[in-house]
């Protein structure tokens, strides 16, 4: 799925989600490296093709830089790199999934958007205590789809250290 198709699919899925009142929740899944990840469709604001970003000095490698999205400046996080893989070799085919977390917007750089998954909460399995992956805390659960494990991203935890943590601190000070 390229970016445009993904946008259309997302819009349709959101529309469909409004009509069906079942317990099924919808997730946008995407590929980064060899893995599949998904986020709740509610938190997805926009999907756009990769464009050059403005890099930020002295930041962790996975913070690729910032982007202008209709007047707002958003950080772009390289998901593969954030989860311990190498830097993504970007091309115009790569996709940025813009998500909202606690009033903040962040772009996730991924290889491609895969699908819109519709599933109920019961089908999502908890993260095994001994998953072996040290980054397991950033997942809220796993979903098995056609023999493939899709890791559900816990966005506040995934983005906490860069995006949310500092903001929370500063707000509580000088009260």
């Amino acid at each position: 799925m390229n970016a445009e198709e993904a946008v259309l699919a997302t819009v349709e899925a959101i529309a469909a989600g409004r009509e069906t009142s079942s317990d099924a929740k919808q997730y946008v899944s995407f590929a980064a490296g060899d893995e599949q990840y998904a986020v709740d469709i509610i938190s997805v604001r926009e999907i756009k093709g990769w464009t050059d970003v403005t890099s930020l000095p002295n930041q962790p490698d996975h913070v690729r830089g910032v982007l202008n999205l209709r007047g707002a400046v958003l950080p772009i996080i390289d998901l593969q790199c954030r989860l311990g893989g190498g830097l993504t070799e970007t091309s115009p085919r790569h996709v940025i999934v813009i998500v909202a977390v606690d009033d903040r917007q962040v772009g996730l750089l991924v290889d491609a958007v895969s699908d819109i998954l519709s599933t109920s909460d019961e089908r999502i399995q908890p993260v095994p205590e001994t998953s072996g992956r040290e980054d397991a805390r950033v997942f809220s659960g796993f979903l098995t789809e056609e023999d493939q494990m899709v890791a559900m991203l816990d966005l506040p935890r995934l983005l906490g250290s860069e995006v949310l943590d500092s903001a929370l601190h500063e707000q509580t000070e000088l009260q």
Binding site: T54, N58, G71, V73, L74, P75, D135, S161, L174
Partner: protein, 683 residues
Amino acid sequence: MNDFEQFKQTFFDECEELLQQFEDVAGTLKAGSNDPAGLDDMFRSVHSIKAGAGAFKFDRLVKFAHELENVMDRVRSGRMELSEGDPEFIIEAGDVLQDLVAAARRGVEAAAGLEDEALGRLQAMLAGGSVDAVAADVENVCDKGGAGDFRIDFRPHRAMYETANEPQLLFHALVALGELSVVADLTKLPDLAKMQPDEGYVSWQIEVRGVPDRAAVEEVFEFVDGDCDLTIEPLSSVAASPAEVVVEPEVEAPDAKPVAKAENSGPAGVQSTSIRVELERVDQLVDMVGELVIAQAMALDSLSELVDIRHVKQLQALEDLTMRTRQLQEGVMAVRMQPLKALFQRFPRIVRDLSRKLGKSVRLELDGEATEVDKTIIEELSDPLTHMIRNCMDHGLETPEERQAAGKPEQGVVRLSAEHRNGRILIRVSDDGRGLNPEKVFNKAVENGLVDADAELNKEEIEALIFMPGFSTAAEISDVSGRGVGMDVVRRNIQKLGGRVTVESNEGEGSTFTLALPLTLAVLDGMLVSVAGERYVVPLSAIVETVCPDASVIRALPDGGTVMPLRGEAIRLIDLCQSMNLSRHGQAEPLRKLAVIVETEFGRRVGLVVDELLGQQQVVIKSLEANYRRIEGVAGTAILGDGRVRLILDIDGLAAMAGRNPDISPKGGEIAKPEEATGGLSA
């Protein structure tokens, strides 16, 4: 009343202004006679607070405001004169009023008995003030009457029509009360030719049945009482229930000359007309103009390629557009600008309260209150400034005995001043107290693990230690300046505004804290520079000049930095490529680099080494922190004409990074946090 919750915010905002107005004049009051216009303002302030408070049922506030209003009304109308000690008391009463408003605002009950003392004194002033005060308003003795059927004779006078009262509407109101029958008496009606349209010729006999009580009927005729012949009698022969006598506690005496006074205030018109606008709307406008500036820059960018000498007209039109866009932007920004006065004037009260609490005599000097700053900045300054002033009074100033022993006047001085400089605003908080003892500060920093005991720091570096997180410890948090907040938080808050705070101190002579802040948070004139293929914006206000130093004049420093001479001064060079951690990716270094000489907030000059200057541009500042976090050396971001984001360089941050003494290790500051594996949200 829930519908009116939405107006509470307006009410409290308004209270702030009204309290300020009250306080402003209160500070000028003296025993004897006072400026009538000022007294009117005070009276109206309290009156408006009371009226609003009544609507929201802030009963204690209403009660207190009521008494204070009565006193102010007497004073302004000359029925009461302020005697010795009264002006001070009025200021205190204003403080109590402010506390009651503050409690209401926070939605909490004010401390029990908070207002009792002042209330008692106000009441005493009213009781003893003048003779007419004790005359109770006998007109308010009224007969509540009973339920039932009534007969009403109603003969309007001409005066009733002159106040636009309509018999018809009164009948409608009566219908709402009960069953109504009306008979018009037209016997007094003259010939049509002689008829005066305004005259009351008609009278009515009205019967209304099943009315809840007589008072309801009287209420209908409330406004026309006196402008008509009116009798209301029970229809039944059964007497109404025994009359209840109610005396209104109102002791306010009639205003002697309301009309005359109003006439006086007519031509003065000193008050400038103003409107209140939601800040949000202004912000939207600012944002929109910001986008316009970007769009205009983009248009200019793309058109400049096409335009040649044949298109002089188009060129001029474009220039015109550029100029007007700029004017529009300035105009919109000006809407957000406010004098610091409103902020500064909170401090006399804080200082007064605190000097009492600390047992120190303190004089507060204010300067530069008219300096205008963006409203957002003003709001954000309140807490840091309050903290700094408390800090000066608590820690900076000595006790009167200590001052005497040191040969200083007993009364300490705290000075708060503001001025515009280089497109920024400088605010200084200084005291003539004991100053910082470098040795003590250093030892404490060592004790708290902020620096190594064998570190070699100069005076400036030592003084800067007080802004380090973890410098102030719980042990010395006093009830005055403590509150668990250290100077590090002050610094962080100022930094959040794109500002900086420094301290300069001389032991035994006092300390001066200087805040340097941008005038506005929205736009900036910048110089676009490039280095290693990246582009950055340097605030134009910081740039002194640009030089092209010969490699041979550049000297290395022991700490790895470099300096170049400039008219006898050694200028530290900051290699942007290095500071921004850029790699040249095979891009050749330019043969001769440029050094953009910039001045830090505190007059120190450094040279930013760049490859190229790309030209001036006005940029719209976008916060990096809105969606990310602060980065050292970066003041913010800007969106340029091509739609791309560029970083605005923070000169002082860069200078600090380059000149950082490696001995100082900030704890958990904003400098590159160690990457916690998952960095979860602890909440």
